[in-house]
Amino acid sequence: MKFDTPAATNPIDRLKIVGQPLDRIEGPLKTTGTAPYAYERHDVVPNQAYGHVLGSAIAKGRIASMDLAAAKAAPGVLAIVTAENAGKLGKGEYNTAKLLGGPEIEHYHQAVALVVAETFEQARHAAELIKVQYAPAKGAYDLAAPRDKAKPAGTDDEPADSAVGAFDGAFAAAAVTLDATYTTPDQAHAMMEPHASIAAWDGDKLSLWTSNQMIAWSVGDMAKTLGISKDKIHLMSPYIGGGFGGKLWVRADAVMAALGARAAKRPVKVALQRPLMFNNTTHRPATIQRLRLGATKDGTITAIGHDSWSGDLPDGKPETAVMQTRLLYAGANRLTRLRLAVLDLPEGNSMRAPGEAPGMMALEIAMDEMAEKLGLDPIEFRIRNDTQVDPEKPERSFSQRQLTECLKTGAERFGWSARKAQPKQARDGRWLVGRGMAAAYRGSPVIKSGARVRLDAKGTVTVETDMTDIGTGSYTIIAQTAAEMMGVPLDKVVVKLGDSAFPVSAGSGGQFGANSATAGVYAACVKLREAVTGKLGLNAANAQFADGQVRSGERSIALADAAKDAELVAEDSIEFGGLDKKHQLSTFGAHFVEVGVDAATAEVRIRRMLAVCAAGRILNPKSARSQVIGAMTMGAGAALIEELAVDTRHGFFVNHDLVGYEVPVHADIPHQEVIFLDETDPLSSPMKAKGVGELGICGVAAAVANAIYNATGVRVRDYPITLDKLLEKMPDVG
């Protein structure tokens, strides 16, 4: 199905099942420990051996020699895979560094060997016996150092630079200006389930049970890496214990399991050990961001400039932290620039809302600072610079844009008017209390997505698509879509996901999954409805699917009857035909935060959090709300604690486990409130939905930072806002 004209009224608009806050259909499995994650698949293939990955102890250089003798002689060892014996390997299209290093080493903890043994304990022990001699080389590890050498770098979709009007002159002439530099650190996905895979060969065919967000990409990259054709690979990932972008790609667990299984001639399972994950896999790259804002005295932005520096391995990509600045606020004279330095740290790549998450961390503090300079309320300043068209290309309008409504709704619900504009004015016992806000912005891309639907003689509808559910609620919203389209209750729908034998979907990433994948299911269901009416001899044009019946005119026939002779199967994809180019599809929101800062110790506690989101039709308010509170939680972590500490001498992230890399825990997070504005977006898809899982993180950290400023009068521009950055400038303890 081609989607190239705005969606008209369709069966989804009935909203009997879609749009309802239903419990997740896989909930009983997840809460009883019976949902099968990759490493637990004892059921799929017998005789599984255990693989353990050894990571490089240097960041850059070469392996001079490897002594495997002791490891080979250790009890239970079946095989050892290294670059020397693995045969010729390619590199995945989506990988920057190779997944098996040697002799050349590209980053710290790059996999250099896999030991396969009868048991986990034996594999782990033997891996410790491998003796590696390295010849280290000099690397670049400090983003601040080679900043001047950083080169312009865009992405496939976005140019490195954008310019409108004459920024320099306008900024110089502006009545009120801000020129400030902000930094965001390297961050880790730190999903709870480590990267894990079971690989089994049957002749030249590979079965891979893994934990992966993008099935088709990963089949392609496994094929490219192993040098086999895609049709030899069966990849399955029905349950994924979190990803946040860290499982968009094939990683070392998958490739090493496949190589290990080939070498040991047995199925092999591999999970990356937690302390390996932070340096072995990908992370969100650190940024240095310079924001320049110029405005008239009444608060109209006349110049807006955003430069961002990030680093990555050779041939890597920039963190696109200026993206939102191209679209969020009006202003006649504009300049954005992305610069990329070559660093020899582990591979930087997508993490929840790449680009906008760190970009909004900087931009939305700058907006707060500018509002203060102008003597304007920060909400009013943002409303004054709202735009309904792409400010760089005014001929493009936003498909929907309710930023102002989000800000106003949030202000009212949060009690913003009670906030003191001057910092240091509110006190609650030992706590300095502050309130802050930020806008939320994230693009809402759409991607071609396919599905197959089956109807059986019992009236059960089965959906098959390689779409994944990484905690986002895909199972449930896909079931809701099929139930609504076919007029059956939710319990008559079976959803099968994450299998490369199923039609290729959008996958989970970039907050494109929910809207694109359900639209693909919609398309397949339209075809199935046609098959049903054809089979039943009903008029497709006026047939109504409801309550397990198909009605047309005077006639009403049970849906199941259409499949009483043989199962009906329909397959289709949704293909997006340019509405997303003609218009800008984006989601908007507003974050409000109240913090308490201990007057003596500068300990920060978040007391209240509210998000207001305008993100198209909300397919399931319960799971969508969870996406937003989860993103708010990750944003709170980004604001206060999350930072991969770089050892700039040896080139690695020092705090590579879940104690060193702190993420929010229960005690850090208060009750969180989320409001979804009523919105449908007929330009987005037949579902009229958009993404929301990444919108929720964009702006949160800045709202926390602004609240801390409001509480203490201390402006911190370097994340995370830890006590040491506050203490020196804290007001005297009164």
Partner: protein, 220 residues
Amino acid sequence: MATPRENDVKRRTLMAATVATAAVGAVAARAGAQTTPPAASPSSPAGAAAPTLKVSFTVNGKPRDLDLDPRTTLLDALREGLHLGGTKKGCDHGQCGACTVILDGRRINSCLTLAVMHQGGEITTIEGLGTPEKLHPMQAAFVKHDGYQCGYCTPGQICSAVAVLEEIEAGIPSHVTADLNAKPALDDAELRERMSGNICRCGAYSNIVEAIGEVAGRKA
């Protein structure tokens, strides 16, 4: 750098040798495993079979006898030996709580203890609390309040939550309990503090606390 590693290896070798004399000729077969026990591989050096120790404990009311590599954690005994995959390995270092089980009435990180240390122990895992058809009230509350997303930390959260309510009931104080002589309150601060060893990276905390609160209210 090399010295501690070598010492460590020697210590391990010594330990393995000592154990081998106690459990002659045993292979790494694990009682209760449903798949075929690993066949002796031609590439395994002869006589290098892993030394094992026997241990018996009760899991979810069922007596279990295992013959384990003594290095096996309780977590791996459950997951790999008994194929009870509900108990999750998130970090293997006691940092995340995904492996939480209830051992002799107290919650424990099962990755931080060796299985052979628990002769005669009574273990309850997530599978022992309820089934998809018959959910434990805490499991049902997690579903109702959407107290999870990816589901990987969920079994640990639920095992912890069940034990937390019992700890409060038993009057065991926490870091945030103001009065050590009074029964701890069942408020959000207590729940959040006590649940803070269970990380949820999806960030379902707000919903999890509501789910626990509902179950606690029902109990009270």
